[in-house]
Amino acid sequence: MDEPVLQVEHVRKVFGDLVAVQDVSLSLPGGGSTAIVGESGSGKTTLAHIVVGLVRPTAGRVMACGRDRTHRPSSRRERRERGREVQMVFQDPYASLDPRQTPAAALDEVLRLHFRLGAAQRRTRVSELAGLVGLDDRQMGAAPASLSGGQRQRVAIARALASEPRVLILDESVAALDVSVQAQVLNVLADVRARTAVAYLFISHDLAVVRQVADEILVMRHGTVVEQGPARDVLDRPQHPYTQLLRDCVPRPGWRPQRRRVPAGKEAQ
């Protein structure tokens, strides 16, 4: 097994009275793929934000590539190194690109920030990255507004890969895509993982997508991990009642959804 590129140790995050993440630990091996599955309010996105450094944990430790990322970076250089090692792709491809910057320029900017490359070398690298996610030169030179949602999401993936990160966090990154386009992006993610050493932390509510992407699964509910294990075991033989409920809620032919009464009082503020 590869050395872990990411280790989350007993992480906890409290917002006011709300415990968003409670004592979560995980270890992501180099080139591995771990999915965090949960519904709204499970704490999965907060955990992703803690790993990438957008949110500071209340307690616990985050280590990536041997570097402790729990506290604020002590220097610009340290901040840049952390940015290079862990990258993130968000859900909405329409909100995550600068509308005035072509995809090629966006990738070039990342390369200039992190590497000492000449203009010609950067151009070559931009083409390589475009090829990796299946975009052509015309698309790389176009305004984001003229690209479809799936093309934009591929740009966001290529931009995240430009710094050659060891960890890529994908936060519901295929959730907003049409089925036929989602399949293209999932195949791109499989290709990228096969051809580079990048590891995925894949945040999703969609068990079918998770089956396709993840080796390991963590199921979160109300901030805690309720079940954790190899993807096949968790999906085929879920042990925790909540995981079983999630599994039963996946629509399929002959599916009879169960009706549950909810008290109005539960919604009281």
Binding site: E39, S40, S148, G150, Q151, D178, V179, S180, V181, Q182, A183, Q184, L186, N187, A190, H205, L207, A208, V209, R211, Q212, A231, L235, D236, L245, L246, R247, D248, C249, V250, P251, R252, P253, G254, W255, R256, P257, Q258, R259, R260, R261, V262, P263, A264, G265, E267, A268, Q269
Partner: protein, 328 residues
């Protein structure tokens, strides 16, 4: 028995710039009393526009051709009071409940508004009926909900309120436009159980719009698949899901990952979904179809009767075996 809803040859053009451009082309469908029809497609396929045309909620400037009949009445001719009457019989539930409720009015006001306006019902009776409707969507002790504001409710609870509101005028047809897409999976299952239960108890007809072929197959008697503003296949859900006859239906089913098995590569459909106005001559799907031949690019296929349904594909008969082998 004549169908409750009958749409035939529906073409809708919307003004884009100066030119009216088609968003629906020659859409025909029927829903019998008590029947659930699923309408499945990707973004821009025209599924929401079809529901909007039926509910008479098309944007201003829309040009409509074709026939829309509800219980024999021509919906396109209704005005004023008659249109308000129609909207008590045909109810709509949208994807995002928060975008379709007034955030500064209480839930009780929202639920009783339609009754108070149309039904000559006293405030007290309207309130009682609202509580009963909340009970039907499995909200216990609904009276406590009435003086709350929308922002105090979760998305799932608010969608239950929207369904309760839709039921209060005792409609016979429910148009549900992706009613569970914005909800968590467990909440989706609950809301689907409510819709399914109401349909069976009340004999409600349902037009269920979704991008999820599996969900449509699970809850609808028949499913229609739309592509680029046209219906390409309509058949009993189990047949359409298990043995698709249109290459697009088959490709859509194959592109979706399965929760039970992992595959090396997903079968993708090259390119992206087209809008109706982008479609060249011939079959709208031809450019993305692996089975397309020369005639597909020049001749537009019409819906033809086949296997208890209809399919619009020039090669439907040739491909029957091929699609059965790849997707059976």
């Amino acid at each position: 028995m004549s169908p409750l809803l009958e749409v035939s040859g529906l073409t809708v053009r919307l003004p884009v710039g100066h030119q009216p451009k088609p968003v629906l082309s020659d859409v025909s469908l029927t829903i019998a009393a008590g029947e659930a029809l699923g309408l499945v497609g990707e973004s821009g396929s025209g599924k929401s526009m079809t529901a909007r045309a039926v509910a008479r909620l098309l944007p201003p400037g829309a040009q409509v051709e074709g026939d829309i009949r509800y219980a024999g009445t021509d919906l396109r001719a209704l005005r004023g009071q008659q249109l308000r009457e129609l909207r008590t019989r045909v109810a709509v539930v949208f994807q995002d409940p928060r975008a379709h409720v007034n955030p500064v009015r209480r839930i009780g006001d929202f639920l009783t508004e339609a009754l108070r306006l149309t039904g000559r019902v006293s405030r007290r009776e309207a309130t009682d009926r609202a509580v009963r409707a909340l009970d039907e969507v499995a909200v216990a002790d609904g009276r406590r909900l009435l003086d709350r504001y929308p922002h105090q409710l979760s998305g799932g609870m608010l969608q239950r309120v929207m369904i309760a509101a839709a039921l209060l005028t005792e409609p016979r047809l429910l148009l549900a436009d992706e009613p569970t897409t914005a909800l968590d999976v467990t909440t989706q299952a609950e809301v689907m159980a409510i819709i399914d239960g109401l349909r069976r108890q009340r004999g409600l007809s349902l037009l269920f719009i979704t991008h999820d072929l599996d969900l449509a197959a699970a809850v609808c008697d028949r499913t229609a698949v739309m592509y680029a503003g046209r219906i390409v296949e309509t058949r009993p859900s189990a047949l359409l899901h298990g043995h698709p006859l249109h290459p697009y239906t088959a490709a859509l089913g194959a592109a979706r990952p399965s929760v039970t098995t992992r595959v090396d590569r997903l079968a993708t459909i090259p390119g992206r979904p087209l809008s109706a106005f982008e479609v060249p001559d011939g079959c709208a799907f031809a450019a993305r179809c692996v089975y397309a031949q020369d005639p597909c690019r020049t001749h537009r296929p019409e819906l033809a009767s086949v296997d208890e349904g209809e399919v619009a594909c020039l090669r439907a008969e040739d491909l029957r075996e091929t699609l059965a082998v790849t997707h059976g």
